[in-house]
């Protein structure tokens, strides 16, 4: 019992965790102390005084540890003369508080009355109305009638843009500083601050660009009033009309738990539609945060250009067909292909879809053949090392701090997996030893204890040196993130092995808060690996395409121009594409199948931490599109007469029976929820209301081999030969930007279009000089036979003879998928003569 202490609340003795503050401790035992400025994810500041309580200390007998009793036989308590703020008080053994006395109630009433002296109380037109802590607490503590002069209310800006994503209503702000503290403490980007003081206090930003971070939307959730609203949702719906449907963000491997707020929408013809995406609490995954890509990236599901009918190529053109026609044709082609069938799946194909697609391919082959199941993109590999020594079951970045060493190699987490960035950054703030190993500066460097600059190609050598570092060798825990920047598929596989070797040789495998994470490209890339898909297969399928190639959510043409000819050569070949939109790839297909978006159906995806998680049907599906699993199951039925499964749950059940790692991970198991702390999703009047509560399940991490006691011994791969560049040659290194021009993302988040940078290339200052280029110049980059125009950025910290190019910004001429040698030349501006 050393971890708990005794806290007496209104005369009742409770056991609460040692070190908790009073607000949290009371909440744990069911007592709601109202707050405005306090938030369990932020350090307490004691600014608003809403949490006042009577505070005392019970006398404790030194020898027995029992309470000293008064003459009524109750613990004898010495009360402090003044009220104290609960949020800034840490519980100690024998602490006593009173929360219901007239003195306390009066103090709370007064604080609310003060806050309302100049509050507009425009709840009827306020987006927060219905889920607003101030509104709730006003109902409980408010004066009913104001004693202040209406004419003296302040009138301030009601629609002040803090950037183009978030609007501030200056009249509604109650100056709790939650937004500024979120930016400063949690994100590490202090672009919001108070200006002036007293009654004139206001939130400002004078940063350039203004409030424009990847996490800005979260401030609108934690703002306890309607002062901060998103440009995406403001005036979009009233909170009480909304139903929260549990879902999973489809945009990156973090697998943030989200809640899709839906309602029956008149503008959408009375259909149930998603009005906004909110974080859903999962303390092991995303806590209560999501990035702006996840929050604003949901519009594709209702986009006017969605495909709603299958298309079949006839006379060189894609013409609408019925599902029966399309599927019969596919079945026929597969049967005729004599086993020459392969499939490539993109990043957001659910486990159920992948499984049924695998059945299609395996049936065609007459048995198992993993060589024909590919993932896209295919530059990352080495998933077998995750299966052996992946991040251990039960690990949680939220609990990492002192004693844990986190290594990030060849990855810019802030762009590739924002919430991992946020959680790693905060673990570092709590004392975790962060080591970044990159060839160029990344956001995370700011919080790293050691930034080891490596060269592209020098990754293995750098990993090797890690094994000797005391911060790794002697650390209690070690986690390694392995990205793919500067690497091709084989290089990434080797690096994964190297990381596995560091973990096993230093004894950091198979223990909670230890292990390996591949920074995959897609939300369900891990699931694809688990179900037998691989990057190696993709490579061979693209090198020698099979007679029938099925592409599910894999826009291989938009991402690599070379693939146009691969698909355009139709002699004896047949390409099936399952997509939501007529992508560049779909345009080359022989049959296009309209697929459903993640909000129109249910399923499971597996995050980069191997957590298998459920998403649920949120929105009335469009007429026409179907979930992939159903479509592939139907193809199988047509070909083999097999009995198709009736639900995604049934498909998952089969997966749990056939895939050892997924044993027992039925929908029921994945849907389970335990009580989480902080307790922010409930019906208390001060955190509640926003869609934090998790009712859809916390998901389950499947155990690695090391978790099951089989820690392999992994050898460190040999240091490869460094790439030799001739003078004048450049190594073109593709990097990742969170907001890119991928058609799927463009359709999903119109609000973010203006945040997508123009195609750019980053050069070292020396190289720029030799090439006669300066910041802002236009230059032509050529690599692998593709040329494209880019704006030059000069950065002294970029390695020499290297050109960094963000992928998927230049749609006209796709950037290479893996590093390759290329060259660059200036676009001469021809002076125009008048």
């Amino acid at each position: 019992m050393t971890d708990t202490v005794r806290l007496i609340i209104d005369g009742v003795v409770h056991q609460v965790p040692k070190g908790a503050n009073l607000v949290d401790a009371a909440k744990m035992v069911g007592n709601d102390i109202p707050v405005f400025c306090y938030h369990p994810k932020l350090a307490p500041v004691g600014m608003c005084r809403m949490c006042l309580v009577e505070l005392g200390q019970a006398g404790i007998d030194k020898d027995t540890g029992a309470f000293q009793l008064d003459d009524k036989g109750q613990p004898a308590i010495r009360w402090q003369p003044r009220l104290a703020t609960a949020c800034t008080t840490v519980v100690t053994d024998g602490m006593a508080i009173k929360t219901t006395t007239p003195q306390v109630t009066e103090a709370r009433d007064d604080i609310v009355e003060f806050l309302l002296t100049s509050h507009p109380l425009d709840c009827p037109v306020c987006d927060k109305g219905g889920e607003c802590p101030l509104q709730n607490l006003t109902m409980r503590h408010g004066p009913g009638e104001s004693r202040f002069l209406y004419e003296e209310k302040q009138h301030l800006a009601k629609h002040y843009p803090l950037g183009d994503l978030i609007y501030l209503d200056r009249e509604r702000c109650i100056q709790c500083a939650r937004c500024t503290r979120f930016q400063e403490e949690l994100v590490g980007d202090a672009v919001l601050a108070f200006h002036e003081r007293g009654r004139r206090l206001q939130i400002v930003t004078t940063s350039n660009p203004p409030f424009d971070t990847y996490f800005s939307g979260n401030t609108t959730d934690i703002c306890p009033v309607g002062a901060l609203t998103t440009a995406d949702f403001r005036f979009g719906a009233r909170p009480w009309e909304l139903t929260g449907v549990p879902s999973i963000c489809p945009h990156c491997p973090v697998g943030c738990n989200v809640s899709a707020s839906t309602r029956l929408d008149r503008e959408s013809g009375g259909k149930i539609v998603v009005k906004r995406i909110m974080p859903r609490q999962n303390e092991s995954v995303n806590e209560i945060w999501i990035c702006d890509k996840g929050r604003f990236g949901h519009h594709h599901s209702r986009h006017g250009e969605r495909l709603t009918q299958p298309l079949i190529r006839q006379g060189g053109k894609l013409v609408p067909a019925t599902w029966d026609q399309a599927l019969a044709l596919i079945a026929e082609k597969i049967s005729a292909a004599d086993g020459d069938v392969g499939a490539i799946a993109g990043g957001m194909v659910s486990n159920e879809d992948l499984w049924e697609l695998r059945q299609v391919v395996e049936n065609a082959h007459g048995g198992k053949d993993h060589k024909s199941l590919g993932v896209y993109p295919y530059r990352l590999s080495g998933a077998e090392w995750v299966a052996k020594v992946g991040l251990s079951k039960g690990s949680n970045f939220g609990q990492m701090g002192k004693g844990t060493t986190i290594v990030v190699i060849a990855s810019d987490l802030s762009e590739e997996a924002p919430i991992w960035y946020l959680r790693v950054k905060n673990a570092a703030d709590r004392g975790a030893h962060l080591i970044t190993l990159n060839a160029r500066p990344t956001e995370l460097d700011r919080f790293a204890k050691s930034k080891l600059k490596i060269s592209y190609g020098g990754e293995i050598a750098a990993l090797k040196s890690l094994t000797e570092k005391p911060e790794v060798k002697d650390a209690a825990n070690v986690v390694i993130f392995v990205g793919g920047e500067g690497l091709d598929r084989a290089g990434h596989a080797t690096l994964m092995q190297g990381a596995a070797s560091v973990l096993t040789s230093t004894g950091h495998a198979g223990k909670v808060n230890n292990g390996l994470i591949g920074v995959w490209a897609g939300a369900n890339t891990q699931g694809a690996f688990d179900l037998g898909y691989s990057s190696e297969a993709t490579e061979s399928l693209l090198n020698k395409r099979p007679a029938v190639l099925i592409l599910a959510d894999a826009d291989i043409v938009a991402e690599d121009a070379a693939n146009v000819s691969l698909l355009a050569h139709r002699e004896g070949k047949f390409t099936v594409v399952s997509e939501m939109f007529l992508t560049a790839t779909a345009a080359q297909a022989d049959v296009v199948l309209p697929r459903q978006s993640f909000v129109e159906r249910d399923g499971t995806v597996t995050s980069g931490e191997r957590r298998v998680q459920r998403f649920y049907t949120a929105q009335t599906p469009l007429d026409g599109p179907r979930p992939d699993w159903k479509v592939f199951a139907e193809i199988n039925r047509l070909r083999t007469g097999s009995k198709p499964k009736l639900s995604a749950a049934a498909v998952m059940k089969e997966i749990t029976e056939k895939i050892a790692a997924y044993k027992g991970l039925t929908y029921a198991e994945l849907g389970k929820v335990n009580k989480q702390f902080p307790d922010v999703g409930g019906d208390d009047p001060y955190y509640g209301g926003t869609a934090y509560e998790n009712k859809g399940g916390l998901g389950v991490q499947w155990p690695t081999e090391a978790d099951q006691g089989k820690v392999p011994s992994v050898s460190m791969p040999a240091v490869g030969k460094a790439r030799k560049l001739e003078s004048g040659e450049l190594l073109i290194v593709p990097i990742v930007e969170l907001f890119d021009r991928k058609p799927a993302f463009a359709a999903s988040a119109p609000l973010l279009h203006s945040h997508v940078p123009a195609p750019y290339v980053v050069l070292n200052s020396g190289d720029a000089k030799t090439l006669n280029l300066v910041d802002g110049d236009k230059a032509i980059l050529s690599s692998g036979g593709v040329e494209g125009e880019y704006t030059v950025r000069v950065d002294a910290a970029v390695p020499a003879q290297t050109a960094l190019v963000a992928r998927n910004l230049n749609l006209k001429s796709p950037t290479p998928a893996v590093p390759m040698v290329g060259s660059i030349r200036k676009v001469e501006v021809v002076a125009s003569h008048v």
């Binding site: 601050a193 108070f194 200006h195 400002v204 004078t206």
Partner: protein, 163 residues
């Protein structure tokens, strides 16, 4: 640019502190001296010097009433009307001063000579009504002594202009 014009002074300021952030306030004074007020450019320059986000600099400039965030008149009168001063008649004094100059709270006279605003406690509560003019205290004021000061300043401003 402050960095070039006041290089030596800036270096001396930085040398006094363990980290750059601590130098924000002294640098804001340098900027105020150079530009007459804390302009948006001044904010950006100080932020760049301290390697910190401009919003943080703006916040500090806004918190302290000694920094001028808008261009002010030649004589910048800051009258305290916080509670203790108000009890000694500062509110009424302030209003009379504004009326005398024919401007409203926070405004500058048409000739650009006076800016008048009210501020929080200046730590001279026992000598109210009081004000500070370009950081110099004037205490135990009455409208009579105030008027005399105003006329004196006005004359000085005129003389300076004539030069």
């Amino acid at each position: 640019m402050l960095a070039e014009k006041y290089q030596e002074r800036i270096e001396k300021i930085f040398a006094k502190y363990p980290d750059k952030r601590s130098a924000i306030m002294p640098l804001l004074y340098v900027a105020q001296e150079a530009y007459g007020w804390i302009s948006p450019e001044a904010i950006n320059e100080v932020a760049a010097l301290c390697q910190i986000d401009p919003t943080q600099v703006k916040s500090i400039a806004g918190f302290y009433t000694m920094f001028r965030e808008t261009p002010k008149g030649k004589y910048w009168l800051q009258v305290c009307n916080d509670l203790p001063c108000a009890l000694r008649g500062a509110d009424q004094f302030y209003q009379e001063l504004l009326d005398y100059l024919g401007i409203k709270d926070g405004e500058t006279t048409a000739d650009g000579v006076f800016t008048v605003e009210h501020v929080m406690c200046l730590a001279a509560c026992d000598k109210a009504p009081m004000l500070q003019c370009n950081f110099h205290f004037h205490e135990n004021l009455t409208m009579e002594t105030m008027k005399a000061l105003i006329e004196q300043w006005r004359a000085e401003a005129k003389a300076a202009q004539g030069k």
